[in-house]
């Protein structure tokens, strides 16, 4: 039963992950697991100190945990399922020894929780570094997803001669665009470490490190379902040895309720059938071993430590430089300061991005910006027909916008670097930026006797097609900089764009103006040919 529910949960998580892509229906919450995660939402709320609508979803998990107990870890958590799978495949046969340091290590997760929450209070969002749901989402996005696509394409390539012979034309022409990400390997190593730690204790991560588990364990002793041992117990200690969480106390009749994930392994192995998990209302909060092993003193150390971390991470030149940031954020990203606090670095936007332009940042905006999304426009552009990144953002650090609104959320402005441009520097005939620009923001004007491309900033919304397609080697001769970006916490981008007198709509009048003075070289202007558009004799 438990294995089935776990498999179902992992399946659902994977399915929602796959659905987080261009074409996602409006009604489908692809970021469901991230929304349900109370630690993520709590830390985002603490950091932003403002109400986040999607955070309400996590009340479901909090409520269910108060009612049932810490079932989330044993039945729902997809990382828990993955860890159990790893255990089953690799370390099933290993005999685990009791850790001498077990009790100390167990406190780690509470420290992590404390640090995470107090850092959030200090304005730094680090929950994503330790929370299982973003860890798994990032592993899926940066590692698994590109790998699976590679394997798919490999299989298709192997089958291609066969599908050609048999005329299976769909198969014959199939190819999946290969997604690539900057931090694939790092993500893989972190995830690998989490799985590998189970070599030393079953559910090492959940026992000792997981701050989400720690948060849930604080409220789980209230739950209705509790492990109960009846008189038949012979103290054979089989339950104690089999418990993956080490939640059975020295006296096997007692339970560390905050650690118990209700997996019921103990009930299955008990030779006397002395253990039950029947719901029972009890007046006291279970009495025995209900609270976590964290003293008041340790609590008092943890909070300032988190605040110090938050404050040190924030007190770098990166913070005052935020206003001068050179990162291009996804369209609809809220103002930078709030963005950094609200973004939980889950990687969902990067997975869903249809052109693969949204990439994780490493140090570009300081430690506080680790893993936050940025657009790599030299690599790929932001597509006009897609607005999925905001749709899947669980904390709405990138706002869910209609397509029309999104196309008014200017992310930057293209700047032409004349010293590198083929046309400006070498008098070559190149028009790629003009050809590809979806907003007609690049026009040709006759300057110093030659037709030169010029950017009209009020028409450019920073999509980056020009930068991506610029044919010169290395850095593009036309680059999008954050200048003029529109970052709104709320309200309409269309109205804001109007207020700033920006025009992102097709305007056929413009090209006429350019072409009146076209003809490649102005020397020819005396001849009638000079008044003709390029390509005509």
């Amino acid at each position: 039963m438990r294995a089935f529910l776990q498999a179902l949960s992992l399946f659902l998580f994977t399915l929602l992950f796959i659905f987080a892509a261009y074409g996602l229906p409006e009604w489908l919450p692809a970021d469901l697991y991230l929304r349900l995660d109370p630690l993520l939402t709590l830390s985002a709320l603490l950091a932003k100190k403002e109400y986040i609508t999607r955070a309400l979803w996590s009340i479901i998990i909090v409520g269910a945990t108060i009612f049932i107990g810490r079932f989330f870890c044993g039945y729902v958590c997809p990382l828990g399922v993955t860890i159990d799978l790893g255990h089953f495949f690799f370390w099933r046969k290993i005999k685990f020894f009791h850790f001498a340091k077990d009790k100390v290590l167990r406190r780690l997760k509470f420290y992590l929780l404390l640090i995470t929450l107090s850092a959030a209070l200090g304005g730094l969002t680090i929950s994503a570094l330790f929370d299982p749901i973003p860890i798994l989402t990032r592993f899926y996005t940066f590692t698994l997803y590109p790998l699976v696509i590679t394997i798919f394409n490999l299989i298709l390539d192997i089958l291609r001669p066969l599908s050609t012979i048999f005329g299976w034309s769909t198969l014959q022409h199939s190819h999946y665009a290969q997604p690539v990400y900057y931090m694939s390997l790092i993500t893989f190593l972190i995830f690998g470490l989490i799985i590998f730690l189970n070599r030393y204790a079953p559910r090492f991560w959940c026992r000792y490190l997981c701050p989400l588990g720690a948060l849930l364990s604080l409220i789980s002793p209230l739950g209705l379902f509790k492990r109960r041992v009846n008189q038949n117990c012979t103290s054979c200690l089989k339950c104690q040895k089999s418990c993956p969480m080490g939640a059975v106390a020295a006296d096997p009749r007692q339970t560390h309720l905050s650690e118990c994930i209700q997996c019921r392994t103990c009930a299955q192995v008990c030779p006397e059938k002395a253990i039950s998990f029947l719901p029972k209302l009890s007046s006291s909060i279970a009495g025995e071993h209900a609270s976590p092993d964290l003293s008041r003193r340790e609590f008092l150390y943890g909070v300032p430590f988190g605040l110090v971390i938050a404050s040190l991470t924030d007190r770098t030149p990166y913070t005052p430089l935020q206003g001068k940031s050179w990162l291009i954020r996804p369209p609809g990203a809220i103002p930078e300061d709030e963005f950094l606090k609200t973004c939980i670095r889950c990687g969902e936007c990067m997975k869903s991005c249809v052109t693969n332009t949204i990439q994780p940042s490493l140090w570009e905006s300081g430690l506080a910006g680790l893993w936050t999304p940025k657009l790599d426009l030299r690599f790929a552009a932001c597509e006009q027909n897609c607005h999925v990144c905001g749709q899947v953002c669980p904390t709405q650090a990138i706002r869910a916008l209609s397509l029309e609104e999104k196309n008014h959320a200017k992310i930057g402005t293209a700047v032409l670097r004349r010293e590198m441009c083929l046309v400006w520097a070498e008098n070559k005939i190149c028009l790629i930026c003009d050809e590809i620009c979806p907003y007609n923001a690049i026009v040709f004007r006759t300057i110093e006797g030659f037709r030169r491309p010029v950017v009209i900033p009020s028409k450019c919304n920073g999509c980056g097609w020009c930068e991506q397609k610029c044919p010169i080697q290395g850095e593009a001769a036309i680059v999008v900089v954050p200048m003029g970006e529109i970052r709104l916490k709320d309200g309409s981008y269309i109205k804001e764009a109007k207020r700033r007198q920006l025009e992102f709509r097709p305007d056929p009048g413009d090209d006429k103006y350019i072409l009146e003075q076209s003809g490649l070289e102005a020397e020819k202007e005396s001849s009638p040919a000079a008044t003709k558009p390029k390509g005509f004799l």
């Binding site: 022409h173 249809v354 006009q384 003009d434 050809e435 097709p506 090209d511």
Partner: protein, 301 residues
Amino acid sequence: MNRREFLKVAGTGLAMGLIGQSSILKAQEKYDLVVISGEPAAATQKALEVMGGISRFVKKGQRVVLKPNMSFSRPPEFGCNTHPQVVVTVARACLEAGAAQVLVLDYPLGRGELCLEKSGIRDACKGLPNVRVLALEERKFFREVKVPQGKVLNRVEIMKDVLESQVLINLPVTKSHSATGISMGIKGLMGLIWDRKSFHFDYNINQALADLATVIRPQLTILDASRALVTGGPGGPGEVLKPNLIIAGIDPVAVDAYGVSVAPWYGQKFKARQVEHLLVAHQRGLGKIDIDQLKIFQGKV
């Protein structure tokens, strides 16, 4: 069946065949171009009929490649892609003529799946058996061939499916182009090759296009002039006029030449001889360019 009956039947069949064929030959010789005014689907249908039916080009069991322009993720009203109804009408005709398979191919400039979706061409062809609408964006789908008559182009990588199919029907749209003036049939052939960059930067694009037209020779060109993107091409947005015409012909230069005449480009009237790549192609003997010397069927539906 006795010998007499056999001879009668066979004779009748032979006679019918000859008559049928001669009528086709007549149609073939009668007109250089067929120009039909009307809604895209009906006009395309009529143009095919006047050309002598698609069976003149597509035989039973053959594999056909249709090359529409579906290079941009924009809907038909922007005028930068071929109208879906033109594509679907020709695809259906090919199937009726007994084509084993119809591949609708392009190597789009935008993201492939989005171009197929937004152009409306994939949806329009949905439900037609053995018709596949594909954006091929990987080098493995291309193969290098020599260009024996090439002046600037020695080798070019062309879509394997084009090289391996028996029939190629070009379905361009009439639009302006910021490098070549206009982009129609011959310019549209660039959607079948891998390396387009070198056309823009390494070679004279007009010479290279003529070179390309010597190796990719569509049996039939049906130019979609239902809309003409007269400014802002090739991708738009720009001014879209509605000539409401479908132009069909075997001579790729002649079809494009007529296409130049259907609308003022960037507000000016041009003759085909003023379009450099068409002139070069004509001078290289690839087709007729002066439309006033062509026999043109003009009709309305």
